[in-house]
Symmetry: C2
Subunit: 208 residues, 2 copies
DNA sequence: TAGATTGTTAATCGATTAACAATC
DNA sequence: TAGATTGTTAATCGATTAACAATC
């Protein structure tokens, strides 16, 4: 299959989540405009996304929910679960831990890392917190695929380099430090920029 | 001034942050390619962004850092500080509180809201945590502009409605619930979708 | 049948990048 | 002067939306 647009992948994740809820209440088929309404997007966009992943609906009946969920799974999931580590077990790291353990997903949280001796060695939601010194060892031993960076920004680049050298293939950088990465997919999420952006568009002169 | 593209606004936030650091070490002028290198973007993009905000550099000398920082401020900041509330004082809410108090910015955190009686009435980094029952009252009293939603997803839509009715003009929704908002700027940040997206692009068949 | 719906191509929109003129 | 840099327009790219054919 061709590589999908980033936005389509994000929406597939959304589709799966809302469809799973509908399956629980025994809905079997759904129209593109129903999905669109749930996500506040257009029906065309839904149909186009489904076209891209090669899913066919039934005219006048819509899409079979169970089938669609399982197709999305074969496309965005790995045959094996992705193994994930959280580097920096502060408040944000803890929030991510909760997200990952509360939400059923194809991601398997395998390790936490921190520098604080009081945290190192503890078990949190069944996941052990290791010293950051052991990053290369643990990443290689458990073949960890993805890392979430929630550590102080000044250590972000160095740690990212270590992670990639040890075999990590995807990184989400939640620190305010801007990283340069070779050989892995990088997603930056900058909370401050996001806050300042919303503040800008909140200005009174932009009200419609 | 014309309304700026979203991406430009985000980058302006980045420019300001890195330039402020350079000012501290007494750098006076900077070239577009230097800024570009720091942010891993192209020099053209930098120049175009600066063109959009009407900033002029000096040929062969570059841009005056102090001037540029202050111009960015007049564009993305408000004359008065934006007043911000965090709704849902869990781990993520706490992480955001730390971000906002550690980073000097034009955002002024005014209130926290939660349902937990043990949290209500406490003061955290000088900010009081109120009961969510008091949202309309407190939002109006302090004229809060922006709200960050970090509460359980099932309450997100209802709370967002209350916030907008009480005068909030910008919302960042960190819950996995997809919201529909009228009369305010809305930014969704869906951690699960973000994780699943990175997982998808982490797949071995996409390595270059 | 008429109306509703899927599936797909073409047009549009927003953002980035290429090209290049101006000039110190 | 030649080379480096800014500033700006035009071209390109990626994503969304419009238009519409197919068909139940």
């Amino acid at each position: 299959m061709e590589i999908l647009p980033e936005r389509t992948v994000e929406r597939l994740s959304h589709y799966r989540r809302v469809l799973s809820k509908l399956l629980e209440i025994n809905k079997e088929y759904i129209y593109s405009h129903e999905i669109a309404k749930l996500l506040h997007i257009t029906p065309v966009q839904v149909r186009r996304d489904l076209m891209l992943i090669g899913h066919s609906g039934t005219l006048r009946k819509g899409y079979r929910i169970r089938e669609l969920i399982s197709l999305i799974g074969t496309i965005i999931d790995n045959p094996e679960k992705y193994k994930v580590a959280i580097v920096g077990f502060g408040k944000l790291g803890h929030a991510l831990l909760n997200y990952l353990t509360e939400n059923e997903s194809n991601l398997h949280l395998v390790a936490l890392f921190d520098t604080n001796p009081e945290k190192i060695g503890t078990t949190n939601n069944n996941v052990i917190c290791y010293s950051v010194d052991r990053i290369p060892e643990i990443i290689k031993r458990y073949k960890i695929d993805m890392a979430l960076l929630t550590l102080p920004p000044q250590f972000a680049q160095l740690t990212a380099n270590q992670l990639v050298e040890s075999g990590v293939k995807g990184i989400i950088n939640y620190t305010s430090s801007i990283l340069s990465i070779e050989g892995a997919f990088l997603e930056q999420y900058d909370m401050i920029a996001s806050l300042e952006k919303v503040a800008y568009f909140t200005k009174p002169e932009f009200y419609l």
